[in-house]
Every structure is written in structure tokens, then in C-alpha cells.
């Protein structure tokens, strides 16, 4: 009477992709660090019919530093993101976001690929990937395709990842010296917390003008989002109090938060505005006279 679960711990990537192809109708759950799937199974939110355990695949555990971008395997753990100097130097926001994940046990097991595939709007590193314009390389037995991270999600907990595909590589353009990073997670407590609001941003200021700004937001919409309207308003403008004030209002049209178990839509709206204004004010202060 008990349900049979198809479980596979492949020896290599080819075997993994073959299993995905064979079980495409069963909606295979891909198990990496298990930090999302195990609690979900335990609390009976999901009951997978097929599980593919990729934790042991060395092909998915790589890190390459290129001239303009960093290539990460999906099994890169949060601990590695926190500790590896290549990541810390080239994409410091990834390190900061990883530091705010759960606690040490979760950081040791939780992975970059898992955070992306789980597709939660509150996924901690997702706003970082959004502002870095990361590119995801998806692979199936039939071949590879590249998808812009910012086009990856199609709705709440939904993505364009097909049942026979897995995330093979994450390509993250590196941060340039003139770019100023910003990260703020507002969680339910200081550790072991899921975001109420998370903001990642990168800005470039020259001569008092915001040459470029990118803002990624978590937990304030069905998916992680870029604050496009706010970015358009800010880009190319002089960073003054009036602009900061206006940006705080415009960002309201970039988000559509809800009331849930962790917080309220109202609170998320106000703190998103406050955090953005705080970032821009600090930025203005730091660039006085530049």
C-alpha cells in the first residue's frame, strides 16, 4: 500500500540526465543539500515519486574565475560562498547574502542551485543573481541552453526549468571596482530566519550622477524581482534628496507584497521604501564632492 519512490544517486552527470529523461512524467525532485526538500517531505508538503540525489556529482561542484564572470556549479554551498576568496572578491554580494542564510548547518548543506531551483520569492541569494544579471546554463540529456536568471521564473514557485533539465552552471558577471554593492535582509530574527524583505543592489555614481543602478528584491512579490521602474527613474539622474524621496515612492509600483505568516503587506511596503532610501542616502553621503 505504501508508495514506491524512485530514488537515484547517479555516478556521473550523464546518468543523472538519463534518469531525469526517463522519469520526466513523474516530476523528479532533485536533491542537493536537502535543506528545502527534507523539511517539505517531513511536514508532508510534498511526497515525491522520484528523487535524484545529485549531492555526490563532482561535475556540479566547480568554481571558475573568468575575466568578466564567475562560473559556479549548482552544488556550491552557502559556506563556500562565504569562505571562497574568489567569490568574496568578485561577487561580494553573494558572500553577504550567503551569510544571512539560516545558520551554519544550513549553510554547510544548502546550495546555490537549490536556492534557485526551489524558486521561493524569499530565496536569500536570488536578489543578488538578479542584480548581477546572472545566466543559468540548463542541461538535459538532449543538450544545453542558457536562460537569463531574470527570465527564469514564470510565477510563484514556478520556473522555465523543464522536468528533464537540471541547473548545470551559474554564470555571474563580476562586480567592477566602481560598482557599489548593497545588501539588506530583513528577517524574522537574527539567525534561522526567512526574509520578510531582502534587497540587493549595485550602483555606480560619477560626478554626483547615478550612472547605473540595479535593484533586486526578495519576498515582496510572487518571485524575486528587479525594481525596473525605480531603476529607470534613478538612472542618469543627480542623486539628491528629492530623487531619493521620489525613488522611495516609485518602488511601491515595482512590488506587490502580501500578508503571510511572517509579516504584512503594509510592513513590507514601508520597509522596502525605507531601506531603499537608506541605501540611496548613504550612497549620496559617501559620494559627496565626487
Amino acid at each position: 500500500m505504501t508508495t514506491e519512490v524512485e530514488f537515484c544517486a547517479p555516478k556521473n552527470l550523464a546518468e543523472a540526465l538519463e534518469f531525469l529523461a526517463l522519469n520526466r512524467d513523474k516530476k523528479t525532485w532533485i536533491l542537493a543539500g536537502g535543506t528545502d526538500i527534507m523539511p517539505a517531505i517531513n511536514s508532508r508538503q510534498i511526497s515525491p515519486l522520484a528523487v535524484l540525489d545529485i549531492w555526490g556529482l563532482r561535475e556540479l561542484r566547480i568554481l571558475e574565475q573568468h575575466q568578466r564572470h564567475l562560473t559556479l556549479g549548482p552544488l556550491t554551498t552557502f559556506s563556500e560562498m562565504m569562505q571562497d576568496p574568489r567569490i568574496g572578491q568578485t561577487v561580494p554580494l553573494l558572500r553577504e547574502a550567503a551569510q544571512s542564510v539560516g545558520a551554519v548547518q544550513i549553510q554547510n548543506r544548502g546550495t546555490l542551485g537549490g536556492n534557485i531551483a526551489n524558486a521561493s520569492p524569499a530565496g536569500d541569494v536570488l536578489p543578488v543573481l538578479a542584480v548581477h544579471n546572472a545566466v543559468l546554463e540548463l542541461r538535459s540529456a538532449k543538450g544545453s541552453r542558457n536562460v537569463e536568471f531574470n527570465a527564469f521564473y514564470s510565477g510563484y514557485k514556478q520556473s522555465v526549468l523543464k522536468p528533464d533539465e537540471l541547473i548545470y552552471r551559474i554564470h555571474v558577471p563580476i562586480q567592477w571596482p566602481q560598482q557599489i554593492p548593497y545588501w539588506r535582509k530583513l528577517g524574522t530574527r537574527q539567525a534561522q530566519a526567512i526574509s520578510k524583505v531582502a534587497i540587493a543592489a549595485i550602483a555606480e555614481v560619477r560626478g554626483g550622477i547615478l550612472q547605473d543602478i540595479r535593484i533586486g528584491l526578495g519576498a515582496v512579490a510572487p518571485t524575486v524581482v528587479r525594481a525596473k521602474k525605480t531603476e529607470d527613474t534613478l538612472r542618469g539622474r543627480r542623486l539628491d534628496n528629492r530623487l531619493i524621496q521620489a525613488a522611495g515612492e516609485i518602488i511601491q509600483s515595482d512590488i506587490c507584497p502580501i500578508d503571510d505568516i511572517r509579516s504584512t503587506a503594509r510592513f513590507r511596503r514601508r520597509t522596502t521604501t525605507n531601506i531603499l532610501r537608506r541605501f540611496l542616502s548613504d550612497l549620496k553621503l559617501a559620494h559627496r564632492g565626487m
Binding site: 523539511p39 524574522t188 530574527r189 537574527q190 539567525a191 505568516i261 510592513f267 514601508r270 520597509t271 531601506i275
Partner: protein
């Protein structure tokens, strides 16, 4: 010297190296796993129970109310709660059926194949509507109403220059012990053994005898396994769970293990009572309190459990450690269709203490003076009397605690400095304080009704075994009992060990609750040791043909006129093998002059009180409204710290629970359903949320306690929440009368 020394914990090594055996570590041949099928509605009638005919029901054991050999009533105070709902469902997640199988998974699978068909009835899940809604209990939905009167209230208000009124609210709080509830029942011939994670083994015996239709207490053997915390949550709930496992074990004739997962534990077990408390206070313009009128409502949930005694302690502590001649306290515990609430460290006092301390701050605000001054002016001193008319004769440390905490925290300077920051700073700072007390031991003549017993037994190898039913649930009971025996006998702590808690072997020392273990049971253990010493000296005097007065016991050796005649251990061995005095036991005797009237709530509510003052400091980020409790100074009087490090652990742990209660612990309940039933969303503070603690142990000894000791277990949970709320008020310039004060509530208050 063993008292006041930080000896290694008796349970320390095995817990650190992983050898400590918790109930889920234990297994028996042929053991089955039991699960519970629960109701999905807050109120209704069971019309039918349908079993899926496609399932092989012979592969599992199912128990319903008709399988109960004795009474379907959880024996506690009232006789209202069934082990298994028969016809009427009175709350969500009420147990209806039990299923056991060879694996937990299989039992859970079977559970999904059963459907309970119900006719839903109107329900009451809101405390504010408990009186007006559906009739659930007795004539008026009241589990208990208590009235405490002192002096002449109308006169008190007539004498007042000001009268201030306010309503306060507190929410549900989950104990969140690290180890969920669990038991194993092992059936025998006309008997049953229960291995469990629990606080009160003899409660389980008393609950199981009528359930199983047993007549002799020895037929139910209860053995406490190493227990991963209780905080009151394992006071009465294990009665129900042990009953369930026992029913499955009796029917299947196999050992049955039932261990809840976190979700089931949060959903089904008792929590701290939510409260609504109304204060009306009369005061003179110099700050003197002339009248305190307090009205207290607790949500008891669907069954009476311990609500009436929780209410009782809440009421007795409601007027706090303040001098006031005219007091009127009315308390009510209401029946609703929420899951039953029960014991949680503090036992009603954290709610009433929160309300009172916030009211005292309001008094200060009304008069335009510092909250510290109101407390200085009204704090009790020896000779003053409490709300129940109990005149305090000794061990009163209000002012000591207050002044120590104020000085150590630099309260006065910070209070004025932070006030100046208020208008412009983005990070706001605040500091607040609270003054509080907690009665040690059972209320009134409760200890006399329990008549706790404790014993000592000399082992053949010359060690002293300590026999009590007081459970070590992490608070250090095993260690302090050994220290007390060692001190009394003048022997090393290593020679003293605990017998473990097995009701077939140890005497009933009463439950491990009510801040009573150290003071009440500890004193029984200490006096048994004194008895044993006296007996051994007498016996040695007979052997040596001398007067007992010539023999002393010093440094582990018996001396006859100053000359060493035997080591303690050698004489103890001899006593054991040669029929000498090899044991001692003591039974509680009520002190002379203790008077308590349960009907009028007049008299000596507790043998003595412990006292405390907390000062909390907070920072609030006005961009995110995040609350950070940065520093917490506690000065708490425990009479005598038997083991100072463990006392500090009690103070810091209890304070952190109170900080969580004030800022983030919120059990979200809607129509009787708990919505946040996981550790990820039913929040408690983590180590990173903890403030820097500065703990001062005050020792104002009590003549009736062992070595001067009083209770420490619950005191620290009383004062933290109002101190934190006061600090948040100070930081934001808003008043918060309801806890938890979350960032969302601060945002609302600051942006109305």
C-alpha cells in the same frame, strides 16, 4: 564545602558525549509505533468513522474510546478531559483514534485511510467572546473564578489624587523544549511500564490507574528518561500521551512508542494562557499607591487541565511586590474551543506581572516621575503585607535587587541620555525596568496536601544514593541534591548519586513544578542526610562504646575525640553489610503557623518569595523597525545559590524566554487552528537574538530553605517582558500594552 560551589554537573558528561539516552533512543523487541488521529474542527459531534475497506486493517492496531478498560478521563483536577473523544469534539487536534503498526510510516499511512464524519457545532475561539458565545462548560463557561480582597477598595480610590486605567494583553507562548513529547509503554501481566520524557512521574501513575482499571499504584511503573527540557509543558501533558501509548500497548500486547514530531507537538500540546488584564489604580500625587483593582481573564482552552491553579498563581502575583492597603483582584479562567492551555514556567505570573509593571510605568508617566521612583516608593519591605494579607517577616530583597540592577545597568544616566536622543536618531535607544517576585513552592497548604517524601540509601560500595521523584529536566536537580547531601555529611559530591526516577523505587516527592524542587524537596534531602549522619554517629558510638557526643564527622572522616576512627565510606559500607543505619527518609511537615484559606484567598500564599529586578536596553532601527535587546541586567534574589553557575543559567535562560515573549514569540491561532507549527515560523530567540547578560545573584537567606535557598526556576520568566516593553516605549515614545511587540506593531504605532 559543596554549597555555593560550581561542581561539575552530574548529567554534563553524558549529555556532551552523546551517551545520555532519551526516550527515542530506547527500543524494545517487537515494539510498535503509535500515532494519533485528531479532530479537524474546533467543535462538533462525531457522526461516523469510516475505515477504507481497501486497506488491510489486520496489519495495524486501532484503539478508540470503547477500548478503554477503565475511565475515559484524564485524572488531574477536574474530570472533564477524555483520553479519546467519544462523541463530542471540543477543539482542533483533539485525539480521537490511536493507531499502532510495526513502523511509524505504516501507522501514518493507516491514519490517512480513516475518515471522521462530523456535524460541526458553533464554536468560541476568541477569549473576548468566551462569556457570550456557545455554552461549553458548566453554567457560565468558567473553569474557575477567584476573588482576592484586601482593605477597602472604594476608600482607596476616594483617597487617590489620580486614577489611571488601562487594559493589557498577552498572547499564547509555546514552551519549545528541544525534545518533543515522547513515551514508550511496555505492557505486562496486570501492569504497565512507561518510559517517558516527563516532569511528574507520579501524575502519570495517578492518571493511568483509573484509565486501565488498575487498583494498586505498583501496577503502573513510570520511569523518567533523560528529558530534553519541559518548562511546564511536560507537567500534565505526558498523562495524556502515556495513556495513549498504554492503551495501544494493552490492546496490541506489544511495547508501543509514541514520539511527537515538532509539528504535532506544537499543534496538540498545552501552551501559556493568553490573557486580557484590566487595571484601575489609585495613587497619591507623591506616588503612593492607594488602590489596585485588577481584573484578569485567561483563555483556558477546551479542557480545565491546570487552568485553575495557573489562574490562582496569576492572581496572587497580580498586585506584585508593592505596598498597597486596598486591593481587589478578580480572576477568571474561561472555557473556549481552543486547544487546552496549561503549565508554562511562571504559571500565570508572567501575564499578571506584565500587566502590573506596565501599569506602574503608567503611574510614573501620570505623575511625571521616573518609573524607578514609583518602585522605590512602593516596594515592599519586611512588615508589609501582600494582596492575600501575608505579612512578610524575612528574606525580602526588593530594594536590594532594585538598587543593584539600577546601579549595574547605569539606568539613571542612560534613561536621561536616551531620552535626549529621541527626536532625531534613526537608531533609537531605550531602557526600562521591572520589579517582581515569585512565590516558592506550592500555593497555600499545597505542600501539606502533597506531603512530599525523599530518601537516602547507602550502597554496598559506600556511596549515597538519593531517592526522589524530582526530575532533572535540564535545570540541574541531580547536581544540587548531591551537593546538599555532600555538604550535610561533609563528604565529596562524587560519593553522592541519584537513584534515577522510577516510581516503583523512589518515593513520591511531589511534582517537579512550582519552583519547589530546590527549596522543598531539597530540604527533605538535606534533612534526610542530617538524619543519616546522626544515625551513623549513634551506631559508631555503640560500636566504639562511647558517647555519640564525642564523635564528629569532618572532611569525610569520623573523629572520636579528635582522632580519626573511620572514613565515611568505610563506615557506610559496614553499615550496609552489617545491618547498621543504611538509609534515611523524610516526609514534608508543614511549618507551625502556616495559615491559608483556599475559599477567601487569605493568608500565607507561599512559605517565602524570591525577588527580582530586570533592566532591559533596546535599540530600534526606524527604517526596519527591528528590535534588538542589546543588554539585559538582572538582579535576582534566590536566598542562597547552591550552584551559582546553574542559577545564572536559570536567570539568563528564563530571561531570554521572557524577551522572546515580549518581542517575537507569537503562536498564530485562527478559529482554533495554530498556523505556525514549525520551528522556522513559531519563533523563539536564537543565540544571536540574545542580549549581553549581566546577572547579579542576590542572597537574602530564608530560614526554612536548605542552606537558605529559595526557588529560582520561574522567577526569571516574570520580569523580562515588561522591562523590554518599557524599553521599547522609551525608545519609540509610544506605549505598548500588548505583547509580543513586533516590528509590525511598532511600524503601525509610529505611522498611524
Amino acid at each position: 564545602m559543596s554549597i555555593g560551589v560550581n561542581v561539575p554537573r552530574k548529567d554534563g558528561q553524558s549529555k556532551v558525549n552523546g551517551q545520555a539516552a532519551y526516550v527515542d533512543d530506547l527500543s524494545f523487541d517487537g515494539m510498535l509505533y503509535g500515532v494519533t488521529l485528531r479532530s479537524q474542527i474546533p467543535h462538533g459531534k462525531i457522526r461516523a468513522i469510516q475505515f477504507d475497506p481497501k486497506f488491510d486493517w489486520s496489519s495495524v492496531v486501532v484503539v478508540d474510546h470503547s477500548d478503554i478498560p477503565g475511565q475515559n478521563i484524564v485524572t488531574l483536577i477536574q474530570r472533564d478531559q477524555p483520553f479519546l473523544a467519544a462523541q463530542l469534539i471540543r477543539h482542533v487536534n483533539e485525539p480521537i483514534l490511536l493507531i499502532a503498526a510495526t513502523s511509524r510510516k505504516k501507522a501514518m499511512e493507516a491514519r490517512t485511510r480513516i475518515e471522521i464524519i462530523v456535524d460541526e457545532l458553533p464554536s468560541v475561539t476568541n477569549l473576548e467572546k468566551a462569556a457570550t458565545g456557545v455554552r461549553l462548560y458548566g453554567e457560565d463557561n468558567l473553569f474557575k473564578e477567584i476573588h482576592i480582597e484586601k482593605g477597602d477598595l472604594p476608600r482607596g480610590f476616594a483617597e487617590a489624587d489620580y486614577i489611571v486605567e488601562r487594559t493589557y494583553k498577552t498572547g499564547l507562548q509555546e514552551q519549545m523544549y528541544i525534545e518533543p513529547q515522547g513515551v514508550i509503554a511496555v505492557p505486562g501481566k496486570d501492569r504497565i511500564s512507561i518510559y517517558g520524557s516527563l516532569q511528574c512521574p507520579h501524575y502519570v501513575v495517578k492518571a493511568l490507574l483509573p484509565l486501565l482499571s488498575f487498583s494498586h499504584p505498583d501496577q503502573v511503573q513510570v520511569i523518567q528518561m533523560v528529558t530534553g527540557g519541559g518548562f511546564g509543558g511536560k507537567e500534565e501533558y505526558p498523562n495524556l500521551l502515556a495513556g495513549h501509548a498504554a492503551l495501544l500497548a494493552m490492546k496490541s500486547e506489544c511495547p508501543v512508542k509514541m514520539v511527537y514530531d515538532r509539528a504535532e507537538d506544537i499543534l496538540a500540546t498545552t501552551k501559556r494562557h493568553p490573557s486580557i488584564i484590566r487595571h484601575k489604580t489609585g495613587l497619591k500625587s507623591d506616588g503612593t499607591l492607594t488602590a489596585l483593582a485588577i481584573e484578569i481573564d485567561f483563555d483556558g482552552g477546551a479542557y480545565a487541565t491546570l487552568s485553575e491553579v495557573v489562574l490562582s498563581r496569576g492572581c496572587i502575583h497580580a498586585a506584585g511586590p508593592y505596598r498597597c492597603e486596598n486591593i481587589d483582584i478578580v480572576g477568571r479562567a474561561w472555557a473556549t474551543n481552543n486547544p487546552p492551555n496549561g503549565a508554562f514556567r511562571g504559571f500565570g505570573a508572567p501575564q499578571t506581572c506584565f500587566a502590573l509593571e506596565r501599569q506602574i510605568d503608567l503611574v510614573a508617566k501620570t505623575l511625571g516621575i521616573d518609573p524607578l521612583e514609583v518602585r522605590r516608593r512602593n516596594a515592599m519591605e519586611p512588615g508589609d503585607s501582600t494582596a492575600t494579607g501575608q505579612v512578610l517577616t524575612e528574606s525580602v530583597a526588593t530594594h536590594k535587587c532594585l538598587e543593584q540592577a539600577v546601579k549595574a545597568s547605569d539606568y539613571i544616566r542612560k534613561r536621561s541620555e536616551y531620552s535626549k536622543l529621541l527626536p532625531k536618531a534613526r537608531i533609537r535607544r531605550g531602557i526600562g525596568l521591572s520589579l517582581f517576585f515569585h512565590g516558592s513552592g506550592f500555593t497555600g497548604d499545597g505542600e501539606n496536601r502533597i506531603r512530599g517524601r525523599a530518601g537516602l540509601q547507602v550502597t554496598p560500595d559506600g556511596f549515597i544514593e538519593i531517592l526522589t521523584s524530582s526530575t532533572d529536566i535540564g535545570q540541574g536537580t541531580e547536581t544540587i541534591f548531591a551537593q546538599m547531601v555532600a555538604e550535610e555529611l561533609g563528604i565529596p559530591v562524587d560519593l553522592c548519586r541519584n537513584a534515577g526516577v522510577d516510581t516503583n523505587r523512589v518515593p513520591d516527592s511531589g511534582p517537579t513544578v512550582a519552583s519547589r524542587t530546590c527549596m522543598i524537596v531539597g530540604d527533605l534531602v538535606r534533612s534526610a542526610a542530617a538524619q543519616l549522619r546522626e544515625d551513623l554517629i549513634k551506631w559508631l558510638a555503640e560500636l566504639e562504646n562511647c558517647n555519640a557526643e564525642q564523635i564528629t564527622l569532618v572532611g569525610g572522616c569520623f573523629l572520636l575525640s579528635g582522632q580519626r576512627v573511620a572514613s565515611f565510606q568505610d563506615l557506610a559500607k559496614r553499615a550496609c553489610s552489617e545491618g547498621g543505619p543504611a538509609s534515611a527518609s523524610k516526609t514534608y511537615v508543614q511549618p507551625e503557623g502556616l495559615e491559608w484559606d483556599e475559599k477567601t484567598y487569605q493568608g500565607q500564599a507561599y512559605p517565602v518569595f524570591s525577588w527580582g529586578c530586570d533592566v532591559a536596553e533596546v535599540e530600534i532601527d526606524l527604517d526596519t523597525y527591528e528590535i534588538s535587546v542589546t543588554r539585559f541586567t538582572a538582579a535576582q534574589d534566590v536566598g542562597k545559590a547552591i550552584h551559582p553557575v546553574m542559577v545564572m543559567g536559570q536567570i539568563e535562560g528564563g530571561s531570554l524566554q521572557a524577551i522572546g515573549y515580549a518581542t517575537m514569540e507569537e503562536v498564530l491561532q485562527k478559529n482554533g487552528w495554530i498556523e505556525n507549527h514549525r520551528m522556522t515560523n513559531c519563533l523563539i530567540p536564537t543565540a544571536l537574538d540574545a542580549p549581553a547578560f549581566e546577572t547579579h545573584i542576590i542572597e537574602e537567606p530564608f530560614s526554612g530553605g536548605p542552606f537558605g535557598a529559595k526557588g529560582v526556576g520561574e522567577l526569571p520568566t516574570d520580569g523580562g517582558a515588561p522591562a523590554v516593553a518599557a524599553a521599547i516605549d522609551h525608545a519609540t515614545g509610544q506605549r505598548f500594552d500588548e505583547i509580543p511587540v513586533t516590528p509590525e506593531k511598532i511600524e503601525l504605532a509610529l505611522n498611524p
